[in-house]
Amino acid sequence: MSTSVKRLIGRSLSLDRGGRRVLQDLSFEAVAGSALVVTGSNGAGKSTLLRLIAGLLRAVSGEITVDGGDPELSIPQQCHYFGHMDALKPQLSVEENLGFWRAFAGTPDDTVIEALDRVGLARLATLPAAYLSAGQRRRLAFARLLVTKRPIWLLDEPTSALDAASEARLLEIVGEHLAAGGLVVAATHLALPFERMDSLRLGPSVVEAA
């Protein structure tokens, strides 16, 4: 695996949403093995930054580069985006939902059953996703990160709707990803207990200061 991403670097990024400047001259650096935790009040641009890295929004200026990684792939193609929406089809069963993303995204990692076992949903494999609770939906959506191998994980409020046990389990899995040389950018308003982490604080003060 010589294609691991060593660093993810953003340089002087600016971005407009609806005619309003959300990110102004923002620079960051995320290093493999250490989580970059993005904090800030509501509307500070945490989700916007993650969607920008995921290639779903375009910056007005600035650039995002990676150090290392697969030169054949773009940055979004090396990212897992775990956003607010779960990308689940209620008509499909738990394993069908996960199996589709495993087959669609390429570079398979864990099997569907292994991944469901890791997030504690193995018993519900044949249940239609429509019957899952909010926390179970969230865990199933997170299992998508386990069935395909991608070096960069973009986590937007990863622990929302989770109970304490599931939250600990999820943070443990993220910790394993970091320990294996993975790269994590997490947006949150809670304190996430990672062993190694850098923080990036977004807020109106940052924009005004810049």
């Binding site: 929004l57 792939l73 779960d86």
Partner: protein, 222 residues
């Protein structure tokens, strides 16, 4: 299983399970064609003459009915973001989604049309010709409609706007489809000429639809 075949399988499952669009289109087609003889009255010659046109209009409306959810369902649950980020070319994703949509909603219309043609007192030759033109022409409706579905993906209740955008573009398909079907029973006009143009329109939209649809979806992400 490759990315695209798994997408096709998933789309077919979604279309055929509860809340899917597969049966809806066919039922709507059935209703439209059944209602026409009641409205027009029991003039059998008139029904036979307008039969191909009614079947085509019914197929067009039934196709449009289910098209608005083609990409919107994926956008609403966040799946479209993941598809946009992925390694699979978006043009191929649109192509496969259109093929699955046609298999689930267009193909049942083609299969149902010979039965419904009997309601319209059509001759066997006309029935065969209309079914053949629908088989060649309905994929074109889906591919052209996909452009509209991609353009209106971010709009709530974009279904009506989709119809307004797409209907003018489907007019050529319908003109050549109906004229090929009627040419089969009316002597002086050859069947092959309008039918070849219909087939050409189908192939053309099969290329244009995915490219234009993918471009619209990329733009809708912003």
């Amino acid at each position: 299983m490759s990315a695209l075949s798994s997408l096709f399988v998933r789309e077919m499952k979604l279309a055929t399970r509860v809340g899917g669009g597969a049966l809806m289109g066919a039922l709507f087609f059935l209703i439209v064609v059944t209602v026409v003889p009641f409205g027009v009255g029991p003039d059998l010659n008139l029904l036979a003459r307008i039969g191909p046109a009614i079947l085509w209009i019914g197929a067009l409306l039934a196709t449009l009915l289910s098209l608005d959810r083609l990409f919107q369902a994926d956008r609403d649950d966040g799946g479209l973001d993941l598809i946009l980020m992925g390694e699979t070319p978006l043009e191929l994703v649109v192509l496969v989604k259109c093929l699955a949509h046609w298999t689930a909603t267009g193909l049942p219309l083609v299969i149902a049309s010979p039965v419904l043609a009997i309601f319209m007192n059509m001759e066997p030759v006309a029935i065969g010709a209309t079914t053949l033109t629908l088989a060649v022409g309905t994929p074109a409706l889906t591919f052209v409609g996909a452009i509209g579905a991609a353009l209106t993906v971010s709009l709530r209740r974009g279904g009506l706007l989709l119809a307004i955008l797409v209907l003018p573009l489907t007019v050529p398909v319908m003109i050549f489809g109906v004229s090929a079907a009627t040419a089969a029973v009316q002597e002086p006009v050859p069947f092959a000429t309008p039918f070849s143009i219909l087939a050409a329109l189908g192939l053309f939209s099969m290329v244009l639809g995915p490219i234009a649809g993918a471009a619209a979806l990329r733009f809708a992400g912003d």
